[in-house]
Symmetry: C2
Subunit: 421 residues, 2 copies
């Protein structure tokens, strides 16, 4: 039993049509037939349903191309919302997006730290309430919550093999606890995959694309023609454990010389602390508050023009660039986006080094280049991806019974601008 | 415009149904509906067409499950054939497979060597004739020819960025020349991708799988649920250029310390030639005939128990294992098959080293292991994959007009056993 036909069979035709309308902005029924390959009868039925449920609205007619002018369809952006939560050791980021994937509310709170998972989940439920109530969105328009976190996840139950900072979350029944605390359907995914999906939704990356993610660790999310590639157990894209030096130091994953242990934020911070002059000038002589705040201090020192700080970051960037090239060679990538909190801070140092490496040594450069970009929403891409997971998921049918009033658009919160804007 | 629905639309429903029947062995129409997601009416029409064309036959009825006993369908294996050709510097391998992917004829001839591409193509056309005529298959039952070669291919026109040994094939209009010389439709692909497809067809690897291919160079082919993953330009899986030592020697690809230049067959041979005692005992003191024959000589020395030969191969195997782990981490692999001519020779040294590396340090080992195997047809997997490309491709419609006689099965050549058998 093989492949694609079977996969499509299991995907909801409604979700597929909704995704095409979202991506197109406005589109006619004939356009939908061409884009999806569904029959006219199927499109007609699905669109009628989507309109009845208030998810899609008719919005005027296309320019005539000779025959009858075609009615255009578009998403009713304020018909539904989704919550995206990025849970990390150092911080928790919350976003509320509308059906079109635009961020309408965003808050950041303290990270999981050393607190008990149960305590953190209770606090998260409060903070989700603050997020939703802050923009006056009715609870019954919120489809669900996408929680993303450093993976890998072994199942929908909770976080699997975790980095050391979050080890106490292993075996905690996160999925169930969060559904109970928030009263929302919950989907889980790892932060790097979610970031790639977030870049696809908010940044419009297409084709064969990857998000190279650097938070406290290093990972990658893979998106092929708009669909996340997750691998056999949801753990694809583990580029942080690419070996760049077979005789290098041991990594927490069990291997040696991984790019994460050689060049990740913790390695950058350790190198800066080992240089007494730099450590003093960057304020790194005391006890560490967190790897991320120390990494930010090194980046600030580099921006102030301290050569030793810049040299440490550039050494890290060359290692990361080598791993990025391996990823590009294996996946034959068209687009690589640098995203995640650490690239939000120091992306300007890493971007030219990664670009140069791929221009110089990407294996298939004779056929095509790789478009390397810095994310416009590097700090929140994972949380946005969490919300996108909800919007893309099978959660829509859960709210099928819900009919929305006609005057729905009146109370729509305005989308927030991108981080860089 | 996104994803899967669109992709399925463009794939031929006939090819999809044919592939499901092939994979299932025997299957009912209801089974086809369940497996493909197509409607009963579509399956009914497509199956009727396939029977009319002689590609599929009815073959009795399934056990009753209460209702009417269902008619079973199976491929008519001898209805069509495909030629697979693996063109390499050192040798050319030809296989003829039937519609089920079983090899019914196989020959090996001298490689491309330093000869002019035009001369080689003329010879290849003769050798394809020998292959087909040798088992008495009629020319009009041969669907086409799949030519595989060290890639990458920049288009269907010819070989793109080639390894040094085949540089004169760059810009040669291979596709056109071969179609003219053989009078068969031709498809091209790189040897590693074809090997993965060949393993899928002949070895039944499923799920998220890769073929780690070692010929003169090192590459990988990726197969996800039976479908080759080719990347944005057909060059995915370039694991030979994973960096294992940033300060290592320069590779022909432009980077430094690639696994191919550090540990590929040429590196193994160079290390053996640099050891005077080993070089003498392995017969490597004279001028080299080819990297492959020298590599075979080192492997024979290792099998004879010469510790220095074994040490060189094991050092290579550890490097290759590191690259294999990177590939497994990025793709989240379930299955990894070692294949290609060099693993056909020395696979018994590499297999335990690669297995051990993945058991010990595969990132997602808490979630699942990676099944590492040595191919049963390592020497011919690429050629078989070339034939599979033809069988899977859109070439079938080219022969749609062809009706076959009823007594077709009479003259079927018997499939050859696997290499190891």
């Amino acid at each position: 039993m093989s492949g694609p036909a079977r996969a499509t069979h299991h995907a909801s035709s409604k979700a597929a049509v909704l995704d095409v309308i979202r991506a197109a902005g406005t589109i006619s029924r004939v356009g939908l037939i061409n884009a999806t390959g569904f029959t006219g009868a199927t499109i007609s039925t699905v669109v009628r349903k989507l309109i009845d449920e208030g998810l899609v609205v008719e919005t005027g007619r296309a320019e005539s191309t000779g025959g009858k002018r075609r009615v255009l369809l578009q998403l009713n952006h304020s018909a539904r919302y989704a919550v995206g939560v990025h849970l990390d050791h150092a911080g928790i980021t919350y976003v509320l997006t509308n059906l079109g994937g635009s961020v309408v509310a965003r808050i950041s709170r303290a990270g999981a730290g050393a607190a008990e998972p149960g305590t953190v989940v209770t606090r998260m439920a409060d903070e989700v309430g603050t997020l939703i109530d802050g923009v006056g969105v009715e609870r019954n328009r919120v489809l669900g919550l996408g929680l993303v976190s450093p993976g890998p996840f072994s199942s929908t139950a909770g976080i699997g093999l975790t980095p050391p900072s979050m080890r106490k979350w292993e075996d905690f029944p996160l999925h169930q606890a969060l559904e109970q605390a928030t009263n929302l359907p919950v989907v889980l995914d790892n932060d790097a995959t979610a970031a790639a999906l977030g870049e696809h939704w908010s940044g419009g990356i297409g084709g064969t694309a990857a998000a190279l993610y650097m938070g406290t660790g290093i990972g990658a999310g893979l998106v092929i023609n708009g669909v996340a590639y997750r691998g056999s157990s949801g753990n694809a894209g583990e580029v942080g454990h690419i070996c760049v030096d077979a005789n290098g130091p041991e990594c927490w994953c069990g291997a040696r010389g991984c790019v994460e242990v050689m060049a990740g934020p913790a390695a950058v911070v350790a190198a800066a602390r080992a240089d007494p002059v730099l450590a003093r000038s960057a304020g790194l002589t005391g006890r560490s508050r967190s790897v991320s705040s120390d990494f930010a201090a090194v980046s600030r020192a580099a921006r102030r023009g301290e050569p030793s700080a810049l040299a440490i970051l550039e050494r890290s960037a060359r290692c990361v660039a080598t791993a990025a090239r391996t990823l590009a060679n294996i996946m034959d990538l068209e687009v690589l986006v640098l995203t995640g909190p650490s690239f939000a801070i120091a992306g300007s140092v890493y971007l030219p080094v990664v670009r140069d490496e791929l221009d110089r040594a990407f294996f298939s450069r004779a056929a095509h280049g790789v478009d390397v970009r810095l994310s416009r929403s590097a700090a929140t891409a994972s949380a946005i991806g969490g919300a996108a997971l909800v919007l893309q998921s099978e959660l829509v049918p859960l709210h099928e019974g819900l009919r929305l009033p006609e005057n729905l658009a009146d109370s729509e919160p305005a989308p927030l601008p991108a981080e860089g804007a």
